[in-house]
Symmetry: D2
Subunit: 433 residues, 4 copies
């Protein structure tokens, strides 16, 4: 469980001048046997003590003393897939810097426009990456390499990797991308090729299972925060002013909830995890009404995936990544509120920052995080690990098999401390319905 | 021409300890005869020289030595009307500080929710303003007093002013508000009441005639600037990526044009002043096509009022301020582009920051500007001037009769230097159609 | 070990409408027996399993079903001590909101100017706190209550608490403050008074032991980050340009190191934990020289406490908090570099942002964090816990006895992953000396 | 007066597709005879009318129909000199874009490290500039080309220009640089070479005579503004807390004064133009004392060049640009305040943002401004004008002979409206001494 697959036995000495003993003020190489338990609860510990089983644990990330590749001969490739997310360029930069400066890798290929770039039919040209052309990209949002949604034929992609003598592929992307890179890894295994595939999980929604947080997520609510602050001005600026801010969050409401907690002037947060009704004595509209009577204004933050159960007909349209396109809860909510208060003097302002959030450059927290993720991804790949992901769990950097995190998406636990803190901040009822 | 109306002869000495001579390092009182010519062109000067006429000129703003009111007995009122705009709170604060600290005014009334607050039927309560409750409001967007759109019965409003012994009313608002305050001034004159009415022009669109710039406008494109910077990331992040940013600008494209010039990665700016076609050999879509072939991405900034001539049926719906609601050019454009490139592989991202821009706090330039505007408004009112506006023309603070600036809205001169600089920056064709 | 002291048996039912079962989508009350192990390493786990000892663990933070106080009768007090740190106002606001809205506490006292405010001789007046006067303070840096350095007579302070019928004291402060509030707790115990004392650890240097991070620390390097970005412009703007940025960090270099990692254009980071020489073949100056030859510019970030061993005479001056005042390493370094390169054409720019960093408002990450800290502090106090601290360890909110974290200061582990990531980012030698 | 020198008769048709008639919605070429009067006062107008003299006027900036150079054969050079200032990169970018896209200029040379780059002995290599390598530099502070202080031998510099077939030199710099480029222009004239020299005035202090504002100045006080906002937190955070912020301003206090007006929480602004005493009944220290008694805190903003008359010995040390290095008024003030209040309980925080302000990227207002300045500079140079400057006067873009603006530095008029508005904002006495 949680064992990382290895392409083969490490055959080379790491060029890194590190240590193997404590006390010399030099960082120690990490051993594959350095592992960290996943569940911190004392209760769990006591259970384990009782049964004698080994607790679930994760492999610590970091440089290995023995590595699989001869660094001087390595060709690495980087691909970025799916929607934009703050920090992608920081990861690209970090991977390039680590390959070049730590390991002396000479050839680094940038795959343009996502997995499309690995399909020759699409006609995009591979680009050369070096410290010189990536050194300033961390200051920009977006992706230096371009991106695309959806997958390509796995066999063709592996053909392209082989044709270009790629030894390791770093794939920055979300759920779909990670599944894709895992499939590429499987195909490589079938062919007995020695290409390491590494995932760096990217989802602005923060919905990747098991890990603490995905990069870009903190920037997302950092960017959303002044938008909410000023939406509050729209709400208070009119008598019975109502402002609705729609934020990202297809299946998980982390951005909406965190932004509301970060700028605690929000009165209602609606997220996909919640079941709520508009109508009825305990419904949202009554709660909103009570708020207006009391305070003459209200600020609502709604995640794009919230309230899909309220639509009579379920959407079945899919986007290029294969996700079902949601019906627009923001406009729906606005219409329902207008209807409900048709005979009252209210003013509604609807704010949909959409792409503004995801195309921003990484903030400082995410910059630190992406640098460290990138370094760890490179160390793992050089050691010959494959189909793994570099990430942070319980505030520690670890490697996890990709297959372990793509089983389900992370959601806000409605009974957890985080959601409780959001409810405490907004003062909204526990249930509306 | 451009003469400011006076409630009566000044009867009191200004409490300000200023000077009347140059050279003593103390600011001099301004005289009503201190005027500044409006037209700077030498050609105009030579014409005037020839005809002997007096050139059009404006009264310099600033404190007068003789004032109309006994400051200790003054009751002042402030009202903010119409949509939000960065800097409203700075003006409120500035007016309160100037009244309180410079002139020792004891009673300052805040009128809640725009002109509605002057109509007792609406049930809003007047609030007391003092340095203490406004001292930090300049750091927030929105309006501390609340606002509303549209007018109220002039007679009722003057009744309210009289009932509350108001001596001077400061109205912060756009075209409609200024017309309203002028009408209030006329009614006051009819009643022979001695209430000064002062306008402080507020329009985020920067479309008030004659003046250099309206406050909040610079903040508007300052806030839009990083949104455009990041929209560029959306455009370049996909193969044939197109990003469309819709910005405010009902009848004038100043925000869109300035934002494009401030963040010169924009390829097309479309404004209300422009006549353009989508179709045809020289139409916008062909120009966009050429851009994509050359660069594989494009960034379009469109003012909300642009391209209304493209809609088959003209909108006739009006908003609460009496302005015709525009058809949505942003979504229209998106649809037309999708249609045009239906058989090509393109990606469109549509970004509509809307209220995000107007609810932001004032930037530093606007903060300096609003403070000075507020001070000048107070000096003018204390001197007994009425139905005037404090503003900046040719980089100088002046007073203008309100009636002079509400004749027509300012628009971008398509033959002027400003629009030319925008065209130089975007590289778009002079004409598209 | 790590057991929280309790004032007495809880006698009241919590007014919070929470749950005690999983699955009802309502947050569950936390039990005192809910604990989390401190050490995550599998190795440690296995050792413990072997010996059968209970592993060190911490009490989970959160609301208890049974509480010690009758909320309606509670008087709470808040005090903020020591230097400014981003997020103090957020904590004040969070504590007030939690007391008022969750528990219905009627009386909340703000202690002005730190511990001085508990000493009547100082003449400061206690202030009343309510949602109304704290609702917007989270948008400002600094402390709404004012602060002071150093302690006051413990007995006098407890007299003041008793004289004002205070039931719980929330103290926001660093190492000294926490020791102080612990001493107050001891005195209270001696008197058999039933006053809960709670610490909320505040240190911009992030040097409090055991905990993940202290609030305000992330904002600190977020504020420092653009300063470093622009210092890079100073370095590259001149031939052989050298920019030195001095950042906070008396005994621990977390801010300097994190800022350098967040804005990875830094070439050297010097921190208090490091031993380094200026002179010699492997000294800093030679390393700098090599950098200039290669790249013609260099950017150095130095923590204020770095290199104190380089001064011939140790500073013995103490500040008001009893900390030894450091000799100025920034100016010293500048002088030494000038001396070393006396015959070369170099340009040095010295940048000391000092108070700019600590007086800033909290960023979004810290805002979320401070809200949750404040809520947990209140829940713990209401439950009758005392001499404890609310904090985050291994990414989970827990309570720790104050006495456990004041034993020593947290420092950067020179053999740890964090410092290694900084060295990877800067490319500076492991040792300079 | 104010006549621009011309290298010779224009011989070529402008490649710009502009118009010569009004009404066709195409920008019109500007004629040399299009001029704007300098003094707007009606009084001046009337005087002039009386005497029949032509009023002082300035040549309108913009593209000329007939140009001096054959654009396809032009080699242009750009040099940036002196200290950093926000917006330099925007000007570089704007000049390159205008030369390349408007006029089709093929060869653009970047001169590295200021005038040093024109002295071959210094060994710096000229760089090629193109849209590709400057397209993103507007997002960064500093100068892409590097800079240096002081001049080089004029004859050598002209040799270098001739050796590289340079036809036009754009020099971005302050007073010294402008004098330098004028001297280069004189030497060129002597040699009868046909090289246009153009100044783009750069001074963060805003002290260039005649012009409205220099670029970068607005960004400067925009960057200073939150520093002042937070310094206020330092002042209020302690009992009798005093914060001192030192800002740039060698001979003119524009930054300090504007920043104080932009963030109106400042209580005292001290600028070089002011004469003030520390001691005495009306001195600064008594005024500060009164403020502390009243409000318990004070915020002082001091320009670096203020109060030089207070030092017993005048500084005579000069910097590389030949400016006398000022004694440090900030630290002096701090010491004097400490001394004065030695027996009182006060806390002083001294904040010196120094390089932080000048190395920042341009804000949106300055971005618009620098783009337009750059375009106008290029149009003027292509027309064969020389020894002129592109700038803005009375809110209009004009050309001025460099020699006219280097006669004296612009200072704040202590009797002017701007300084009066600052005094109104701070509430400080008109005189302190």
């Amino acid at each position: 469980m949680f064992r990382i697959e290895q392409l083969g036995e490490p055959k080379f000495k790491s060029p890194l001048q590190l240590s193997t003993v404590r006390g010399d003020k030099i960082f120690n190489f990490i051993k594959d046997s350095d592992r960290l338990v996943l569940d911190l609860s004392l209760e769990h510990y006591n259970q384990i003590l009782h049964t004698g089983e080994e607790p679930p644990s994760l492999e610590k990330a970091g440089p290995r003393q023995d590595i699989f590749y001869d660094p001087k001969k390595v060709t690495a490739a980087i691909v970025t897939c799916g929607g934009l997310c703050p920090g992608i360029n920081n990861v690209i930069r970090g991977v390039v810097m680590a390959l070049h400066y730590f390991y002396g890798v000479k050839r680094i290929i940038g795959v343009p426009y996502g997995y499309e770039g690995l399909n020759p039919e699409k006609g995009h040209k591979l680009v050369e990456l070096s410290p010189d052309n990536v050194k300033e990209i961390h200051q920009f949002g977006g992706t230096f390499l371009g991106s695309s949604r959806g997958g390509q034929d796995v066999s063709i992609m592996v053909d392209t990797l082989e044709a270009n003598n790629v030894d390791m592929l770093f794939a920055i992307g979300g759920d779909g991308t990670l599944k894709g890179v895992n499939a590429i890894g499987e195909e490589i295994k079938k062919r007995n090729a020695q290409i390491s595939v590494v995932g760096i999980p990217k989802t602005i929604d923060n919905d990747i299972d098991l890990i603490d947080e995905s990069f870009g997520f903190e920037t997302a609510f950092d960017v959303a925060s002044p938008i909410i602050r000023d939406a509050h001005n729209e709400a208070t600026g009119a008598y019975n002013g109502i402002a609705i801010v729609k934020l990202m969050g297809r299946d998980s409401g982390f951005i909406a909830a965190s932004a509301a907690l970060a700028m605690p002037v929000v009165n209602f947060v609606l997220i996909p995890e919640m079941d709520f009704s508009l109508e009825g004595e305990n419904g949202f509209l009554k709660a909103l009404e009570a708020r207006l009577v009391r305070k003459k204004h209200a600020l609502i933050v709604v995640a794009e995936g919230a309230g899909q159960h309220l639509f009579e007909e379920k959407s079945t349209v899919k986007d290029a990544s294969g996700n079902i396109k949601h019906s627009d809860i923001g406009l729906f909510l606005k219409a329902k509120i207008e209807e409900h208060f048709a005979d009252k003097d209210i003013t509604i302002k609807y704010i949909d920052p959409s792409y503004i959030v995801r195309s921003a450059p990484a903030n400082s927290g995410d910059s630190v995080y992406t640098n460290r993720l990138a370094y760890h991804a490179v160390h793992g790949a050089m050691a010959g690990k494959t189909k793994f992901m570099a990430c942070k769990v319980n505030n520690q950097y670890v490697y996890i098999p990709i297959s372990e995190v793509t089983k389900k998406r992370k959601k806000i636990d409605l009974e957890g401390e985080f959601w409780f803190s959001v409810l405490q901040s907004t003062g909204q009822p526990f249930f509306m319905g």
